[in-house]
């Protein structure tokens, strides 16, 4: 009985550890986002703004974030029988629509970095539905 309980606890802890990174907001990345060092890209991944003075820590967090994104896109793309790039682009549409705050930078479809301001809304990629 005790052993069963202990086993269940280990499983639960493992599950929590696996799920937590995906759910928890990364404060470091959020700060970098707010500071205009990094931003969302039209390809569905996170990017580092050219010329930004970015620490190795931020750089590796961006890489890790993108690896996790790619895994998500890949899994869902396989389920829907579409390419990974298409799945990533679909997510980019949602992100550009709802997740880029005022003052944050983003990289548009043409590859140029832009900043969302109160007077300049996010330029939506052409492949996004209206």
């Amino acid at each position: 009985m005790m052993r069963k309980l202990a086993f269940a606890a280990v499983i639960a802890a493992g599950l929590a550890a696996a799920v937590a990174p995906a759910l928890a907001q990364d404060a470091v990345l959020n700060q970098a986002r707010a500071n205009g060092l990094i931003g969302e890209q039209a390809d569905g991944y996170l990017g580092i703004v050219p010329g930004a003075d970015v620490s190795a820590d931020i750089r590796s967090r961006v890489d890790q974030n993108n690896i996790q994104r790619r895994a998500l896109y890949t899994r869902r793309a396989a389920q829907r029988n579409v390419s990974v790039n298409e799945m990533a682009a679909a997510v980019a549409c949602e992100v550009f629509e709802n997740r880029i705050g005022i003052g944050e930078r983003y990289r548009n479809e043409a590859g140029q970095w832009r900043q969302r301001t109160t007077s300049q809304p996010v330029q939506m990629p052409s492949f996004c539905p209206d």
Binding site: N30, E94, G101
Partner: protein, 68 residues
Amino acid sequence: MRMRAQMLTGLGAAIAAAGCIPVQIQAPDEPIEINLNVNIRQEVIVRLERDAEELLENNSGLFGGPSQ
């Protein structure tokens, strides 16, 4: 010496093969192929809209918080 001979033979074969490829100078009927691709793509994107929403909701830590 033998190596060189083999290389030369290979080169000759490559040139011969290249010479056999018919050169088509036909003008393309649809010069707007890029636009065509975008259309197909957009269709797929529309179909994936709900999946994308769900991915964002379930993994909000990977993406920025909801913006105003």
